[in-house]
Every structure is written in C-alpha cells, then in structure tokens.
C-alpha cells in the first residue's frame, strides 16, 4: 500500500509541476508573447477570455496566488480558453484526440509486443553471428530520427511506388462514417505513419528488453531453474522474462514520452491531422493557449500510463507489497 500511495503522490506532484510550468512560462519568458497574443482577442466569450487572462497573466490586477489558484481550478474543469480560430481549446482537442489515440495506441501495442518477443528470444539464444551484429543494428535503427524513417517510407511507398497515400488520415472528400470502406480508407492512410512509429519504437524496446533479459539470465535463480530440471521455455518465461519485464514496467511506461514526441513529428511529416499536427499548427499560428493545453494533455497521457504501470507492478510484483 505504501508503494501505491507513493506512486500516486508522484503522479499528483508531477501533474502539479506541469500545471505550474504552464503558469510560470508566460510570466517569466522575455518578451510580451502572451500580451501580444491576447491583444488580438476582441469580441469573444468573456468567460473564455477571462480564463486566458488568468492563465497568461494579462490584465490581471490581483494577488498572484489567487490567480494561481483560479488557474488550477480552470485547468481541472477544462477551461483552457480559445484557440486562434476562436474555438474552445477543449473542443478542438477532443475532436482530434481519437486520431492520435488510435495511431499511437495501436503502434505502441504492436511495438511493445515485437520488442518483448524479439528481445526476450534474442537474449535467450546467444551465440552465432547474429548476436554480435543484430543488437547494434537495432540500436542504430532505433536511434534513427523518426521523421527520417517517415520521409524514407513516404518516398518509397507513396511517391515512387504510389502504393499508399501521401498524407492525411483519410481521403479528401470522403464523409466520416462507420462504413467498412471508410474504415479501410482510414487504415490505409495510417499504415505509413504507423510503420514509422513502430520501426523506431520497437527498435528501442528490443534493445532495452534484450539488455534487461541478459542481466536477468545471469541471475542465480535462473541457474537454479536449470538445475531443477525445468523445461527451457518455462525457465525463459517464468524465471527470466517475467523478472526482466516486471521491475522495468514503469521504466517502459516512462519511455512513452519519447514515443509521443515521435508521434508529433510523424503527424507533421504525414500531415496527419491528430493532436500532434495540431501542436505544430499552434506554433505556426502562435496559438499559445492551444499549445500550452496540448502540452498538458501530452503530459497527462504519460502520467496516466506511468501510474497504470505502477499499479500493475504493485499488483504483480510481490516485493512491492511489503515495501
């Protein structure tokens, strides 16, 4: 129980830190970015305008602590103000969320599965030429910038071979629906962005998993498993893989931040209109309210995943129960 409460505590503190970062930045950075942006807001919903003023500290003539508290309250109730197009930030985010969630969610699951399987098996069967060459190759591919992989795939499959679409999440002119043809169209559009993400993410995870597995395989209890006459696969799964994955579950979850960063770049490369592309347009439009809200959304996503990993660890790792 102590373990869980500690991790929930970390969750709350980091969330608070992210909110505070958002609050401090406009007030601390040189220049009058915020003031300039808000000056363009006229004839808008007063409540939304007020929320923005509180967040960015423009035209607020009151105690800063009070402002801070109001700001936190606003964030918790989803009042992030308006975008440069005068649409509520929250609405905009919610409309684009499913696309990113789908893309990142599916690719992460695939990459994790590949990473775990290949990493575990790769460590289990050492020896041979592959053992010396494959890991560094994987590491290098994993350290390829994701946009390079994306551009390469685009060039090969979209431009040259013309097998897959060049951009966007579904063909122009199609009406979104739950029809099979629409879903098919969506999937076709998601292949290249998804593949780019999977290549880089899986590469990273294979490398991590393999290293963890190798360290675990050197442990005495794995040797004991052999000594007891257990079957090979049982040792691999029950004594090695489980002990390699479980303590590192939280670590894997924390790598999600890197994956999300990659997804932003992928969406930009493919003009895939999810949250990442929104993030990009918010920088070109200098849409500070939207940008900062998106920052919170991404941070919250990582926090939630880390917390879930922590809870899973608490449930499955017996050593945490008495920690």
């Amino acid at each position: 129980m102590k373990y869980v409460s500690r991790r929930v505590g970390l969750f709350l503190i980091t969330l608070w830190a992210a909110l505070t970062v958002n609050f401090i930045i406009p007030r601390v950075m040189p220049g009058n970015e915020a003031t300039a942006v808000l000056a363009t807001f006229r004839d808008v919903n007063p409540a939304a305008l007020h929320a923005l003023q509180i967040e960015f500290g423009v035209n607020v003539h009151q105690n800063i602590l009070l402002t801070y508290v109001q700001y936190i309250g606003n964030c918790l109730t989803g009042q992030f103000g308006l975008t440069a197009q005068r649409v509520p930030v929250l609405t905009e985010i919610i409309s684009k969320l499913p696309w990113t969630l789908g893309l990142v969610g599916v690719t992460t699951i695939i990459a994790f599965a590949i990473g775990t399987l290949v990493g575990v098996l790769g460590a289990w069967r050492r020896g041979g030429k592959l053992d010396g060459l494959l890991p560094p190759m994987l590491f290098i591919v994993a350290s390829f910038p994701v946009f390079f992989v994306g551009l390469l795939l685009l060039y090969v499959f979209a431009v040259t071979l013309n097998w897959l679409p060049l951009s966007s999440n579904y063909s122009i002119g199609l009406e979104p629906s739950l029809s099979l043809s629409f879903i098919g169209d969506v999937l076709v559009h998601a292949v290249l962005p998804g593949l780019s993400l999977v290549v880089v993410t899986a590469g990273l995870w294979i490398y991590s998993m393999r290293n963890n597995m190798i360290t675990t395989l050197a442990e005495d209890y794995v040797k004991m498993g052999r000594a007891k006459g257990l079957r090979s696969w049982r040792i691999m799964v029950d004594y090695a893989a489980r002990n390699a994955i479980l303590p590192n579950l939280t670590g894997f979850a924390m790598q999600l931040g890197y994956v999300l960063g990659g997804s932003i770049l992928v969406e930009y490369t493919f003009s895939y209109p999810g949250l990442g592309y929104l993030f990009y347009t918010s920088t070109t439009d200098h849409d500070l309210p939207l940008m900062q809200a998106l920052f919170l959304v991404y941070t919250l996503a990582v926090l939630v995943c880390v917390l879930l990993a922590d809870l899973a660890t608490a449930r499955l790792d017996p050593r945490t129960r008495d920690a």
């Binding site: 050492r126 020896g127 050197a218 442990e219 005495d220 209890y221 040797k223 004991m224 498993g225 052999r226 000594a227 007891k228 006459g229 257990l230 079957r231 090979s232 049982r234 029950d238 004594y239 489980r242 002990n243 479980l246 499955l316 790792d317 017996p318 050593r319 008495d322």
Partner: protein, 327 residues
Amino acid sequence: MPEPLLEVENLSVSYLTDTADIRAVEKVNLSVQAGEFLGIVGESGCGKSTLLFAIAQLLSPPAEVTSGRVVFRGQDLVRLTDNELRLVRWRDYSVVMQSAMNALNPMKSIGAQFKDTMRAHERVSANAIRTRSAEVLHLVGIDATHLESYPHQLSGGMRQRAMIAMALLFTPQLVIMDEPTSALDVVAQRSLMTQIKELQQKLGFAVMFVTHDMSVIANYSDRLMVMYAGQVAEIGATRSIFERPLHPYSKGLLDAFPSVRGPRRPLTGIPGSPPDLGRPPTGCRFHPRCSEVMTQCLTTEPELFSVEATEVRCLLYADSAEPAVAR
C-alpha cells in the same frame, strides 16, 4: 568396495574468452560413495565452485568442460543431451547455492517454486504437491504456512533452510552444496551444519560441500579434498588431513586457524597470492608460495601420490610411494 555413486575422471574446465583461455579446473579426479560427506576446501579462485557447477552440468558460457567424464550412477553426465539430463536433475542429484536470496525466484512464493519443480518431473495432484512441500519444510523445521511466503519475507537462515528443503523434494542420492553457510553468521552457520548432517544421516544422501572455511566442515565431513589452482592438492579422510596434513598448502591452511583449547602459538598465513590461471606457474603450481620448495618443484609437475589412505600432489612424497594412479 562398492561402486561409487559419483566418479569424476580427468575433468578439466576452461573459461574460453576472446583474449585468454583460463584453465580453472585441471584434470580433477575424485569419487563419492553413497551416503558420504565430502568437503572441498580452497582459497577463492581455486576453482572449487567451477568444479561443482561443472559436475552438476550448470556451467554457463564462457565456461566449458574441455575434457573428462562425470559418471553418476553409471551415466556420463557430460555426454548426455539436455533432455536426458532433465530426467536426472533434481531427482537423483540436487544443488544448494550460496545465497538463497539470489537462488530463489523473488517473484514466486516458496510453494510455487516447489510446485514447478515437482510438476516438471511427474504428474502429481495439487494435494500431493502440497503434502510433499509441507513434508520437506517440516524436515528443516519451517512451518508449512510459509509456503505462501515470498523469499524476501523470510529471514536469512530460514531462506537457506527452505532452499535445502527444496533440494530434498525427491530425496536425491547426492546433494551438491556451494558454500551454503557463507552468507550466515557463525551461530546460524553451526545450526545449519548440524541440521544438514542430521538430514544426511536420516535420509542417507551423499553430500559434496564446497567452502573456503575449513573450520565449518571439520566436524562433519567424512573425507576432505583440498584444492589449489584448479587441481586437487590433497584428498583423504578428514581426520587424517587435520591431524597430519601432508601438502604444504594444507599445512598452511590449518596453521591459519587458532585452536580454542590448544596452546597459544603465532598464526601464520600463506605468503603470496593465488596464481593467474591463464598463465599458471611451471612445475608445481604451488611452488612460488611453498615453504618446503625443492629445485625439482620448479620444473616437474607432481602427480597425485598415495600416502597410506591419503592422496597428495606434492614432490615431497614422490619417493616414498607409488603414484596413486598412472595419470
């Protein structure tokens, strides 16, 4: 003499790395009778643990058996395939390691670890598993409720005993122990040793016990083997070696221990340090540190010579007796 339970013939083990070939065990011969307690002592790095793991077929790369046979109940374990070995493992011989904290899977309860061992070898009902598990725990004085416990929840001594209980699941004929008492304090050490000896007498299994501390097994082992630099230096009845150590190294080891009741005398250590097994000394491996070194020791590698019931690898005894076996 009845057929020995275990016969190790000319066993050599090397660590094969890119840069060097470390010969950790060099042509070791030994035999263990049924029900016998054989102690193996030596400094850190003398190869005793490597020897033990080689016999138990538990070596990991880069360690490899480079020659020799390990004949256990008529079968050469070195030549068996993994599947054939699996049938023999744990049923006929089991292993107890130095640190139970490291040797027990931290993520599985004690009971679960007993269970997967039993399931790996025969089809038994859950009830039978539970009964047997409780039985072996009882043998070592642990309450059966601890089957649900995880290793980190037990005390050091309890963990060690749980590991021994696990080793006795199939009442094997041979239990190989690698310094099981090293991680414990002297009181727990003594209590564990007594327990091991009791169990041995009760269940009749043979024990091979490796330790760097001679005093631990002095009262418990039937025979003693002293190892130095990967070779057998001296092997014989424990009593004989303690009362009359033949090899200068054994003498040095015994001189390093004060006697509680005997006369006070200055303690001597053995000067120098163990040799680099990648490039061992010429002739007798112990000659650089030997207080009784002779000129021929630098060039001639001594065989094992028989002196009454003891065998010793030392040129001091070259004339007095025949070589133990033409090796």
